[in-house]
């Protein structure tokens, strides 16, 4: 099954000191290598800070574009991994290894791969 691991951190990457960025960046690099070496990684990226976010919704045929993320919350979506593993347990084990899990929250969501069986 494919799972999306959504990485929520309190604050953006840019808020970190250069030393913190170096340390955390190294940890992410190592994690990504491990995930790839295990053959479980489908995709993964960091996102630009929420200050670059734009939200779009269409109501009554009219497109409303607003500056900022979907919800102004303390924890922001900072990046993601898309992985292909056997079960939720395996996805949770990978999620726990993401460096951000130690200070933020990783939301684990199964990806719809067969549209006949959408929940």
């Amino acid at each position: 099954m494919q799972y999306m691991l959504l990485i929520y951190n309190s604050g953006d990457w840019q808020d970190l000191s250069p030393e913190q960025q170096q340390e955390i960046g190294g940890a992410y690099f190592a994690f990504t290598e491990e995930l790839q070496a295990a053959g479980k990684m489908v995709a993964g990226d960091a996102l630009q800070p929420t200050s670059t976010a734009t939200s779009v919704r269409v109501r009554d045929g009219e497109t409303l574009t607003t500056d900022g993320p979907f919800a102004e919350t303390k924890e922001v979506l900072g990046g993601y991994y898309l992985i292909d593993v056997e079960s939720l347990d395996e996805a949770l084990a990978w999620a726990a290894k993401i460096p951000g899990a130690a200070y933020g929250t990783i939301e684990v969501r199964p990806v719809v791969t067969d549209y006949e069986t959408v929940a």
Binding site: M1, Y3, E86, D89, P110
Partner: protein
């Protein structure tokens, strides 16, 4: 007539494990509902089956009981909420109907049905595996399973008492201990539930009032439960892996003795406070110490507990100890009275408060 579970278990070795175990669970639940027979008979047969399976040589044919264990672990997966874990376990493992579970937890039937549907969907759609967790996940996962079974028991322990839930929890604990004979805490839970259940008829009086352990009619204790519980506790202790359930079972077992060994009970509560720290354990420990060493030592421990200011039994224990020290405090009893969750507990406190009056 065969239980759907056993039927599937027989089929798996032949047909292979289903591609989607989550969907299998949902299908099994449906099949179970269709040809469900009386639980007690089913369990008797399963227990026999397990006993027979244990005697068979270790080959493919003997994997029969394992899937039931996998089902328990799937129902108690930490990705499900506690309420869903309890409901699912009762429904899929215990074989209770939606109506029975809803009634037991005083939830409207449609609400409970909805909860079950959502939980089964999450098992299927989130890919919760139908398996016995690997070694490194086992401690965490087993804890959830044990806690879920205990919740089932506790919901039935009351007051008001619901025998069916207590019985179901004991059955589940027995199955778990049979399937995981090397897990001391599984035997420990089985022992604990049996020993608590042994007091069911003595701890509530004819008019529904709680009866203190010391005031209980010993003739009403279930000697068969006590004997079974102590045997389960021996099996647990033989494995030499102490745990909270075993400690509590040992404490419960000591309470059945003619002369209560309070120093030993205080010691066990001390160990329990180390393994599973909680203010309620500290409260029980303080009470045991008061019995073993006197009210002053107990009160000293009691006054160190933080976080029980809203718990009626904390104030009632404090009032008791103050009374025994010759400093009766009616405000402590009033506090306990105001915090008591129901009329049963209030009646109990009223009787205790009468003791505040000087003895004749």
């Amino acid at each position: 007539m065969q239980d759907a579970f056993v039927r599937a278990a027989e089929r798996w070795p032949r047909d292979g494990i289903p591609r989607n175990p989550g969907a299998w669970i949902v299908a099994t639940a449906r099949n179970r509902a269709i040809d469900r027979i009386r639980r007690d008979q089913t369990l008797v047969r399963k227990t026999e089956l397990l006993a027979r399976a244990a005697e068979l040589p270790d080959d493919e044919e003997t994997t029969i009981p394992d899937e039931r264990l996998e089902l328990i672990f799937a129902c108690c997966h930490p990705a499900l909420g506690a309420e869903a874990q309890v409901a699912l376990t009762l429904s899929l493992v215990g074989g209770l109907t939606t109506r029975e579970i809803a009634r037991a937890f005083l939830v409207p039937e449609p609400t409970l049905a909805q909860r079950l549907v959502r939980a089964k969907r999450k098992i299927r759609d989130a890919g919760i595996p139908l398996r016995v967790p690997p070694e490194h996940l086992m401690p965490e996962r087993l804890r959830v399973v044990l806690a879920t079974i205990y919740l089932v028991f506790n919901a039935g322990y009351g007051p008001p008492v619901r025998r069916d839930l207590c019985g179901e929890a004991i059955r589940l604990a027995a199955v778990l201990a049979t399937l995981m004979p090397d897990e001391a805490e599984a035997h420990g839970l089985h022992a604990l539930l049996l020993l608590q259940d042994a007091r069911r008829d003595a701890r509530v009086s004819g008019d529904g009032e709680l009866v203190l352990l010391a005031d209980q009619d010993r003739a009403l204790w279930d000697s068969s439960d006590i004997e079974q519980g102590r045997r389960a506790l021996e099996r647990a202790l033989a494995l030499r892996m102490p745990g909270p359930n075993q400690l509590q079972a040992a404490i419960a077992s000591l309470h059945f003795e003619e002369e209560t060994d309070w120093p030993q009970i205080a010691l066990l509560y001390g160990r329990l406070a180390e393994l599973a720290p909680s203010p309620v354990v500290e409260l029980n420990r303080a009470v045991a110490v008061a019995m073993a060493e006197g009210p002053a030592a107990g009160l000293e421990l009691l006054d160190r507990i933080a976080g029980l200011d809203d718990y009626y039994l904390y104030h009632s224990a404090r009032a008791d100890l103050l009374r025994r020290l010759g400093q009766p405090s009616s405000t402590e009893y009033e506090r306990a009275f105001a915090l008591a969750p129901s009329e049963v507990e209030r009646a109990f406190l009223r009787r205790r408060q009468n003791l505040l009056a000087p003895e004749p």
